[in-house]
Every structure is written in structure tokens, then in C-alpha cells.
Amino acid sequence: MKLTLKVWRQAGPNVAGALESHVLDGVEADMSFLEMFDMLNEELTMAGKEPVAFSHDCREGICGSCAMMINGQAHGPWKGAAACQLHMRAFKDGDEIVVEPWRATAFPIVKDLVVNRGSFDRIIQAGGYISVNTGGARDANEILIGKDTVEHAMDAAACIACGACVAACPNASASLFTGAKITHLGDLPQGQPERDKRALAMVEQMDIEGFGHCTLVGECQEACPKEISIDVIRRMNRDYIVASAKREEPRAVAGSS
């Protein structure tokens, strides 16, 4: 098939960018969306031009590298799939496809379609972990966790940190990402001791990074390639409110009773 691509080109972080048009002929239905980009880049290179920079790696929907706004949809038209899993049979001959980077203050553009998602690492650094050093763990089967509980935690833990939720959100909120981590760890018995602290710190870090607030629009769960439910945001809000309330209570002084 023959397609017209309009691709965002931007030479660096602090320069203006623009959409650039390319006509691509001979695209096959079995190609993945990124293989179509490979084809474009081979043609650009042969024509003496610079290829389009885009993030990618595993090409099987798990590393979370790919980040493309395809015709206004994060990761394109297929539900529950990252851009690398989208195949060209989703399009037809003569289609025009607009491809842009994730747009969010907290994801600065590096070049063309590549954005820097280091802000996600910093949200995790704020408290997205269980504080346990290597070596001291007790036998794994001593911690009993019900099947339903672990499956629920796994639904949230499946997040690949691609940032589609942020890109799809009109407020560029990272609530689905942060809520998923708070749910994953907060569901499990191992995550209880730090549950309050974790919710407070991660939510505060989200604000510091410049992500917007959640207004429950729901675009995030529609865009999520792992189909993480917006319920994780309810969980985040609950944990945050509970932890905030506890924080305001005056603490008993040791031995005062």
C-alpha cells in the first residue's frame, strides 16, 4: 500500500519542530508500525537525509520504549498494544498517518519522536519500592498471599512505563503510572509497612516533576497498552488521603501513656 506520513521532526530539545511529509510506497500489511518506520529511514538514508529518530527496543510490547502519537492516539488504533505491536494491516492504501512524540512538560523532547522519561524514574525513587536489602529475606513460602490478591497486584505491576497515559491525558497527569505502582506494592503484605509514606512521597514527586492533576477523564486507561484500569487511581487517592490524615495527627511521645 501507499501511505502519506506526516512525521514530527525536531533537531534538538530547544529548537522549533514541524511536521514533515513523506510518501511511502510498498508498505506491506504484515509489517509492524516500526518496521514501516525502518523502511522510511532506509529510504531517507539512501537519499542522503537524516533518518527519523524514534525510541524502540524490544519490539514486542514489553520494554516500554516506543512512544508515538499516531493520528492523535497514543500507540495508535489497536487497543491493548504498544506502537511496536501495531501492524500495518490496521491501515489501508492511501491513508494519511500523522506521527508525533508524547507531549508533556515532564517528558522533554530529545529529538524528533524521542522524549526523555527520566521523571518516571524519579517518581519511583521517591518511594516506589519495598525497602529490603539483599540477603535477609525469609523463605518465600512463609508469606502467604491469596491468588486473587496476587493477580490484582500483577494487573497493576504489568505497567511498562511507556508514558502513553501521560500523553493521552489532557492534563498530562501521571496518575495511572503512579497509581499502578502504589496498587502493585500496596496490595501485597510486603508493601504494608511503607504504604503511607510511599503514597505521600510518590504523589508529591509527581507534582514536582510537572505532571498535571487527574480529573478522571479516563483517556489513560483507553491508551494503556497493558489495559491498566483507572481503579488504580482511586487506590492512589485513597492511600494518599489516608496517609495525609495520619500525618496530621500528633504523634504520641514515647512513654507518655
Binding site: 529518530a53 498494544a81 529529538k111 519500592y129
Partner: protein, 637 residues
Amino acid sequence: MLDLNAKIPAGPLEAKWDQHRFSMKLVNPANKRRHHVIVVGGGLAGASAAASMAELGYRVSCFVYHDSPRRAHSIAAQGGINAAKNYQNDGDSIKRLFYDTIKGGDFRAREANVYRLAQVSVNIIDQCVAQGVPFAREYGGLLANRSFGGAQVSRTFYARGQTGQQLLIGAYHSLERQVALGNVQQHTYEEMLDVVLVDGRARGIVTRNLQTGAITSHAADAVVLATGGYGNVFYLSTNALLCNATAIWRAHKKGAAFANPCYTQIHPTCIPVSGEHQSKLTLMSESLRNDGRVWVPLARGDNRAPGAIPEAERDYFLERKYPSFGNLAPRDIASRAAKEACDDGRGVGPGGLGVYLDFADAIKRLGQQVVAERYGNLFDMYQRITDENPYKQPMRIYPAVHYTMGGLWVDYNLMSTIPGLHVAGEANFSDHGANRLGASALMQGLADGYFVLPNTIGDYIASNKMAPVDVSQPAFKEAEADVRAGQQKLLDIRGKRTVDSIHKELGQIMWNKCGMARTREGLQEALQLIPALREEFWSNVNVPGSGDTLNQSLEKAGRVADFLELGELMCRDALHREESCGGHFRVEYQEEGEAKRNDDEFAYVAAWEYAGAGATPILNKEPLVYETVHLSTRSYK
């Protein structure tokens, strides 16, 4: 010649690691702060090593070329991680995991390393659960297990089909916690391009910042490479596209021996190639062989739809040839059997390069819902790629390059032949011999990072007095200048071919001559073709753009340049090893279609020493001494 002292501790196999931990020197807690360790790579081995050493008190710097360590290719591992917990009461033990791994590796791995791996496997599961890894559970709340190839016990722990992801996230959480505590400096978008030696020891690295192009040096007391395998030398593999050999190859050129480069794992169950445009191959987890049955039509050229072929006209070739292991035969054996069936003209799908993996029986027995619970995400992945529904018709699969057992030679302490340069995970050669069992890569990466390196690096630091170094020293400046010159050379060629087109050509040579079946003739031919292609690359490649910005073509070109050298060494190694063992199948050496080892002449590790540009590399041999295991012909029949 190199001194290949593996430093295997004396004493009975079961006591070696304990004894060694006792005899190793310790660094006192206050002094650990004064020592700096560089870890290159943030996958399972790298992240676990960096976090664990930081917890001990060392200053650690961790370098990754992604925007976050959580994107390392460990994340793509699907099926699971082995551990000798014997939670299923099915006769498992440390000794059995040890023996299965040695046997699975076709008796080409070091006993002491493998035994230690089996020992610490149980600690890995405890550690991961404590971190919050959501392993699958039974209704009573205990951990669940599944079976994997090459074993008759059920010892694989898993988190749906995303075990690698969950284990990596666990290690990543620990790493980020140490970053927050200020114990780890995390450098993202930094690709290591050289290792720096001072007084014969690894004392630092040179990196390029992929966003800005800045080339900088970093000094340390010890360096760890945890940079993964080199399967992408074949162009098409199940590896992520950025996976490369540059870190280990440049270390090799600085003096680190490269061990068993020809040992490549071809995974039997991958989605077949669909066309010229193919950029990578997608794995369908080995766990599918728990319930899926592999077959081809009995008759050649049988073009009927799979459902129209009656039971009696199907050949369930793994069950037929290996009745005791059936569909769970090890990877090398299952791959060769599939190739044999296709070479016999009985393959299915486009070009006859495929065999069926059929779930009809499992769906009949368990119901579609149970099958979906176990493998749903893999079935969805398959359908997206092929546009075929595996609940309704069998999957088509074909072998593909998946893992490299070879890597930098390391001793029992995971130190290479360059003092101070340690190598962990897939980047080293240590534990899998000539074939790796399923669910053992995750185990090895985490064993190295959580439990081995934090001990052995302390011993290295405590045992060696090292003068302070800083990056203004000439060794660093020279290495930086070399890196800059190499990069400029690539940018100046401005030829007519793209990097990818040359990489593809290399991949075809490697797959045809050094893939699933290797011959003397073919390998000799490859040793002519690869240098010629390398010449073509250095005179006619086109790397657009400049070095001082994000330039993905330049990154790729540097990696392919290294593959063009490594590929030649792989063929040389495959040619010299005149036997068949594990993933290395030399057509000349077989018995009734099975690999025929030659223990008298080849029971050694081949550690190749770099001899300079254009010079023939030097072969060093580390004999494999088996104190406990009796060398036998591997049988899964």
C-alpha cells in the same frame, strides 16, 4: 598465552562456595565508602549487582544506554526462573538442579560454578518475594510452579508470561532506592565504548552520551560489565534491537579472553519470519510446551489446513523421538528436530519453514479459559503478529537465535582475564556450557548480581592495593581520543550502503554458516565472506548526521562494526571445535542424528585472546575437570 586459572576453591563440591566465602577478604564497613565500583548495564545482573553493592556501602555508578534501567532486555523474558525449592515434593534438590544444568549444557560447563548457581537459586526466590515480585500463587497462598524443558521436576517460578519484567522491576526498585539514598549514581543514555586500564587493571570506562554526543571518562576501583549477549550478530533474533556486543568486544580487544563464542542458543518456538522487512523475531515462551504439542504432517508437501489432517497422518516428532521428555526436550534438541522435519519437506506455512504447536488437546482437556489464564498474553501476542487465532488453529513456530552461552571468560569470582574487570549475566560464559536450559538465564543473572559479585568484588578490593586514579590521567585521555577517532572514521565514510543492509548481510552469513547446522566447508567460506563484508562496511557505509547529537545511525554503525569482528571469531571457534555439543552442531559429528561429543579432545573451554587488528586470535584452553559428574551421552529418549 593467558593464565586461565579458574580459581575454583578446593574441597567437596557442596562446600566450595561456603568455604570460599569464609576465605575471602572483607572490606570493613567504613572503608567501603571509599571504594567506587562501575556497573555497566542495568538489566537483571547489572541492577541487582549495583543495588546490592550499594547496600553494602560501596559507591556505585550504574550506566545504561536506555532512558531508564527498567528497559533492559531482561524485561522481555517470559516463562520463568528456576530454583531448587522442591516446593512440589517431586524429588527436586540443589543437586538435581545442578545435574540438570550440567547435563542440559552437554557437559561443557564448570561444575563448581553451576553448583553455586543451584545453591543460591533458593535465595533468589526469597529475595524477589521480599521485594514484592508478584509470582503466581495457588489458592492457599503458596507459590505455584510450572515445568520447563530439560527437567522432569516442576521448579519454575513465574509471573504470568512476564517473569523477566517482574524480576527486573524488583531489581530496578532496589536500584532506584539506592539512587534515592545517594549510594548509586545512575547515568542514563550513556553507552560504554571502551574500558580503561591503568597498571594492567580495569580502572574505568569511556562512555558516549547518546543525547548530546559528549564523550567522557569515569574512574573506579573495579568495573562490572553486565551488558547482555550478542545474539544480534545474526541480525534476526529474539533479542531487542539495541542489544549488542560492543562493551564486551571492546573489553576483549583490551585483553579480556572471549570464551566459547560459537555456543549459540537457537530457541525452538518463535514466530516464523514473515517477509524481507522483518526486524526481529518474537519468542513464544517455552512454557507453552507444557500444554502444546509439536507436530508436522507425516507426508511431505501435505498442504491441507491443520484441522483437516487426521490424527493418524500427523507426526508428533518430539513425542516420537524423545518419549521420556516429549515436548519438553531441551531447546537445542527441539530446534534441531524442527529443522530436520522442515529439511525433510514436511514444514508448514510460507516456504515450509514452520512446525505446528497445537493446543487443541489442552483446550479439550482444560477448557479454553484455563488455557487463556496460563498463556493468554502469549496467544494475544501471536494473533497480533500473524493475524491467526491460536485457540482455533495451531500456532506456527520455527527456531530462532535467542541466547548466547559464550561470552567473556571469567574465573569463579566472575573476574575476566583483565584484573578488576568483572562480567555478569549473559555477558559472561560461565554457567550454561553448550546449551542453556529454559528459565535459567534469569536465575544466573540474579545469582551473579545479588549473591556472587557483592562478595567477590569485596575480596578483589581488599586483596589489591591500588593507587588512586582520576580521569585526567593519560590512559583515560588516550582511550577517549581513540573513541573519538573511531566515531569520526565512521562519519567520514559517506558511502552508499546503509548500516542495516550490511548488518542483514552479516546475519545471513551467520545464520547459514554458523547457525543450527555447521559444516567445515561452510565455516571456512564464512571466514572468507566476513572479512570481505567488513571491508565493504569500512569503505562503503553511509552514516548520516553528526556525532554531537542523538544519532541512532551512528550508534548502530559502531555496534555493527563490532559484530563484523565478533562474527568472524564465532566462526573460527565453531570451525576449531570438531565435535557436536549442545547448541553447537557440526554436521560431520553426529550419531543417529544426535550430537556426538568428543570428550577426549574437546572437554575444555576455548578462551580466545585478541592478538591485534588483522592477526589470528590465540586459542587458550581451560580444561573442564569433572570431580562429581560422570560424563555421559546426553539422552532424553
